[in-house]
Symmetry: C2
Subunit: 285 residues, 2 copies
């Protein structure tokens, strides 16, 4: 469904009992987790209800509906999606599928790093986008199972630097809902689980600005012929703009995911960005 979120959702649903599956699943998500749960649920024949914000991208709403899930809307600024989702789960006896705060979700996400290492061979570092930290945590666990020396870097939006702040303070920090074009990275704090995994695995988190995300999207479109949504471009943006320390001359893998963005919205986002040919020469790739 165009993002790594399917991996965690599928792994989660695969481990539910037949009785739990029969009662259905519920999730809250601005988009990719919604689609991941909806697709995994349809593959297992499980009824799915997804709580989505009214401003979720149309392309993500459409896809979630197409996978057969029921959508319940909420206002991002005024209501609490987790409470709505828990309420629905309680009423129906359904299981809540959390977006990242669960070992099954984290483990599923980590299979992306596993496949990256299988395809690319030995790597010195892996760079991934960070929302709730599930992909970063799963990647660290999977990668370090193969080679404990691999450095794990997470990238979050400048305005949504809850993970950077949390690692600096040594405790979970909660921020206001960040304003960023990276709609998949608008989390307000790490979870206990993802924070603990990041500390245990020595992960480093850096930030990129929205302009840098736009340039990375344009770079991928023009030079790699790949469609990346703003959230999925975080790792690539950090590399293109030299935000990741200590990797010069190293063999670095980047997880680029997802790609769910409306073509017109895509063009609006990148229209004002510099073309790759306008980058300073030293940044050319």
């Amino acid at each position: 469904m165009g993002a790594f979120k399917f991996r965690g959702a599928y792994n989660f649903l695969a481990q539910l009992s037949p009785e739990e599956r029969a009662r259905g699943v519920v999730a809250f998500s601005s988009g990719n987790h919604a689609q991941g749960v909806a697709l995994a649920a349809s593959l297992f024949g499980v009824p799915a209800t997804i709580v989505m914000p009214t401003d979720a991208p149309a392309v993500k709403l459409d896809a979630t509906r197409e996978y057969g899930a029921e959508i319940v809307f909420y206002e991002r600024e005024t209501s609490h999606r987790d409470e709505i989702a828990r309420g629905i789960a309680g009423e129906r006896g359904a299981t809540l599928v959390p977006p990242f705060d669960d070992p099954r979700i984290v483990a599923g996400a980590g299979t992306a790093a596993l496949e990256l290492l299988e395809d690319a061979g030995p790597l010195d570092a892996i760079v991934v986008p960070v929302g709730g930290g599930g992909l970063m945590g799963g990647s660290a666990i999977a990668a370090h199972g193969i080679d404990p020396a691999i450095a794990i870097y997470g990238v979050e939006p400048k305005s949504g630097d809850d993970f950077v702040q949390s690692l600096a303070r040594g405790e979970r920090v909660t921020i206001a809902v960040p304003k960023t074009i990276a709609d998949g990275l608008q989390t307000t704090s790490p979870s206990d689980l993802t924070f603990a995994v990041a500390r245990e695995h020595g992960s480093t988190v850096v930030t990129v600005g929205d302009d840098e995300l736009r340039e990375a999207m344009r770079f991928a479109f023009e030079r790699m012929k790949l469609v990346i949504e703003p959230s999925g471009a975080a790792g690539l943006a950090a590399l293109l703009h030299a935000r990741v320390p200590g990797i010069a001359g190293k063999h670095v893998g980047v997880i680029v995911s997802g790609g769910n963005v409306d073509p017109v919205r895509f063009a609006e986002l990148v229209a004002e960005s510099r073309r790759p040919s306008e980058y300073p020469a030293k940044r050319r790739v």
Copy 2:
């Protein structure tokens, strides 16, 4: 450089003598052949001059320049690009690199089908875009070298059906410069070489409309996360809209190339197209 055209250009330049390389190369092209020749020339250290129409997409002009080629402009409607290119070649003693009418170009293009078969395993049919017919010819030769039973289908724009007309009449037909969004498929007739190869290999050519190209571009963007320019979408469009006869239940490979289109132009092209979710159910993929 985002299109199969590099393959033919590289193969052509690889077979020039050191003396010929020193005198440089000249090509005329609306875009992808220009970039292919420019990149191949820069890799061989050969000076390249490219004759391009004033209305060529900016993204293709930029890339051609970035690869170090000199660009000479012409008016598509009023001047003859091949005469201009031959004039320059004559003055400088440079070698003209034709866009498709040369065995070295056709053979280079055919490596795309070779790699498709290596990656995908045995196929019943291969579907490719058709401009001058170099990719179709090369694909037929390469594929039939492996398995003579593979059916070869070419796809050209409805308004530029010179190959369809030529095969129907049994002789080369020349049409007016076609009006189509597929700027890479605006050829006006097959060449002697590509027409002969198409007949010898029993290739079938079908057509798609510009609306169908737009829908295929949108489908690839939304569902495959791939950027395809209008010309590169021809094969995919023909499959999505059931324009290729006799392939139901068959194992079919499609060559999707190129992907050189400005993001804003891309959005303009697909904005009016149907989303994949709006296709009739029987056409769903």
